[in-house]
Symmetry: C2
Subunit: 421 residues, 2 copies
């Protein structure tokens, strides 16, 4: 495929993408396939000679789409949102074309530098303490990780490295393995200090945990994977109070801030802690401006992901992003009201953001049966969680285009499928 | 931005991408900027209200492009290739539109299943032993990781978990921490058993290492990040002999197989080893077809990356991909001949694939000076490596569009910039 054909096929793909997203609610949100469905539709080996492009596009509808769970459908209320917006997709096209691998400053200065500045922009939108902002004279800064799991693992490894060093400074004779075997990591059921858990969007009291961690010289990492995006709204920002005690913090703009996956943003109080833990310096990565490079993550290679942040922040503006968050919270409150107005149901956790945890009053089996019916209806999609032993349904407002009509429709579906014991 | 505007802006972006790649050799391959250049060109905070789209596109040329190292330029001979092709970019657009997060089978069956089948296709292209192929009745299979670093870390963690279990099976009273402190990982200078090192594309003798690992019941992981793609050519496949001894194996199609970053493919001999090490099962991830899900990686969320493999394999065909590999190897051999014909220079490592390690006969300082001049010329881009204490220049054929003219031009540049002691 040459540039001329790419121009033609690229335009067709742009239209396919726009058509898909404009008409997505006409597709069943949850697929009607059994495990292994795809293997039977596809050859067992790659073709020796090129296939025809039109056949591939036909196969997208024939083979792929029947097995897709449509996360961008306004009837998708499962898990948490997977952010998606047109500006982010445009930036991703540009990222693919540049095709640089930003593992050092020299590997593409714009890639490293735009990331640093975008993390500052976002940090300021969240009103993070100044020590997290690289552009100030502090010692911290931000980095894009792929996922919250990686950010958490990074913070664990950095904390471990720092603890070993501290012990060895005063006890140089102690072996690393010996020190390691004595280290302790404290976590909750959800692992680290969490703002907005996946199950119920619950919040740890970081203003209570933080001072203890600081007094005891423990690394404190805070994960706000879903809820973090909401902190750009002043009315939600108090939930982040206590962040000043944290050594590291992350959340996922790829969940709720309209920046397509993957983009998990992480900040550290002291750059040196994290740089020291991951320094890799073979000669082929050395360059004149070595100090501007950053090895703050497990992967060596990295895409030019900050382009997505730049496009989205500029094309929505802070107010546009705040409006998106607020609209989804209002929709969750609307759903909560519907649940509360029906005596057969109960709300199982405070509705703080875009997630409503609810259930039929009655046994777990009753609720499992309801969810099974919902899943099989394929018109809306939800997943469950477990809260204090109870089987609970999660209703997360996910799609960028979900509106009141979709929420009302979802509630009608749920009540129609409800049964009694 | 609505669908209608996306159609317009998407077409413009397709043209921008095609223009960029068609005219890339007119841009200096290495940027002329100093660390911090970008921060001064950009506001210190995100805008409150949306910016104008046309201004953003102007800023791409004004702010971003001057700081880009153009990895896709035919004059880029640094590091290793960052794969790029139009079919992969089209598939990435589709991946962005679907926007699913494939962390379980139910989260998008097509995402999990196409990945399994594509890893089988690729495994068969490499003639991997049958136990690595999921579609046979073996116990293994493949998975897409983000990078080789993650694949290596995965194999370390799986090996560690397996070793601890083995010890505890016969000595149930031993504590995990105690067992862990006794474990040993053997590695070379390049870490694990490597086929095609980054410095010089050197090959470990896995037919010698393999039997020892098997006899001693040690997990053997093989990394062929760059060289792995070449094993689809029968003439290079013998270098993979010994793979039958390995417990896990990975290489990066995002380097040399025309599939845009990120796409690091990894196979394991026994699925159970890796599933057991990473099992995560909160209720919100449970579903009826749980056994079809796969947690074979550190991130929970994952993009629909197998679409890129599917588009590239079908639109190039195996023969098209082989032709790409062979063309780049021929170009490396052409460069090697040029070096060998000039008595001032020497070849520093056997040229097996697309990498030529060479230097001026003389001191390291002389070669450092040559590289400095090359870098400052900005017409071609190379990075160095260190081999047996010598400062060596690496010439890696990288861009999909590099041809003989570019190689000849590069050699003229290098000889013109060469100096004598």
């Amino acid at each position: 495929m040459d540039a001329a054909e790419f121009r033609r096929r690229g335009r067709e793909m742009v239209d396919y993408v726009a058509d898909y997203l404009e008409n997505i609610e006409q597709r069943p949100v949850y697929p009607d396939v059994e495990p292994g469905y795809l293997r039977s539709l596809i050859p067992t080996e790659a073709p020796l000679e090129p296939d025809n492009y039109d056949d591939i596009i036909k196969d997208v509808e024939r083979i792929i789409m029947p097995g897709v769970t449509h996360w961008q459908s306004p009837y998708f209320f499962a898990y948490f949102p997977a952010a998606s917006s047109y500006p982010a997709m445009l930036a991703d096209m540009l990222c693919g074309a540049i095709g640089c691998i930003g593992f050092s400053w020299a590997a593409s200065p714009a890639c490293t530098e735009l990331e640093t500045v975008m993390l500052d922009w976002l940090g300021k939108m969240l009103k993070l303490p100044e020590h997290f902002i690289a552009g100030t004279h502090g010692h911290g800064g931000g980095v894009i990780q792929s996922t919250a799991s990686e950010a958490t693992l990074m913070s664990l490894l950095a904390a471990r490295c720092k603890a070993v060093r501290r012990v060895q400074e005063t006890n140089p004779e102690r072996l690393e393995a010996e020190v390691l075997s004595k280290l302790v990591a404290y976590s909750s059921e959800q692992f680290c200090a969490t703002l907005g858990t996946t199950s119920s969007c619950a919040f740890d009291h970081i203003t209570e945990l933080g001072p203890i961690c600081n007094e005891e010289n423990m690394w404190m990492h805070i994960d706000a994977a879903y809820a973090g995006s909401a902190f750009i709204c002043p009315e939600f920002r108090p939930l982040l109070n206590g962040i000043e005690f944290a050594d590291s913090f992350n959340f996922n703009p790829h969940k709720w801030l309209l920046i397509n996956f993957d983009c998990s943003t992480m900040w550290v109080k002291k750059r040196q802690d994290i740089i020291g833990a991951f320094k890799v310096e073979p000669l082929y990565l050395k360059h004149e401006n070595q100090e501007s490079g950053r090895h703050w993550q497990i992967p060596l290679g990295r895409r030019f992901r900050s382009l997505k942040m730049w496009f989205v922040f500029r094309l929505y503006g802070i107010e546009g992003l705040q409006a998106h968050i607020r609209k989804q919270v209002v929709l969750a409150k609307e759903f909560e009201s519907l649940v509360r107005a029906d005596k057969r149901f109960e709300i199982c956790a405070e509705v703080v953001m875009g997630l409503v945890c609810f259930r039929l009053k009655g046994s777990n089996e009753l609720n499992q049966l309801l969810l099974k019916r919902i899943t099989e209806s394929r018109t809306i999609h939800l997943v469950p969680c477990q809260l204090s032993g109870l089987f609970v349904l999660r209703f997360a407002v996910c799609s960028r285009v979900t509106d009141s009509g979709h929420v009302q429709h979802a509630w009608r579906q749920i009540t129609q499928l409800s049964c009694e014991e």
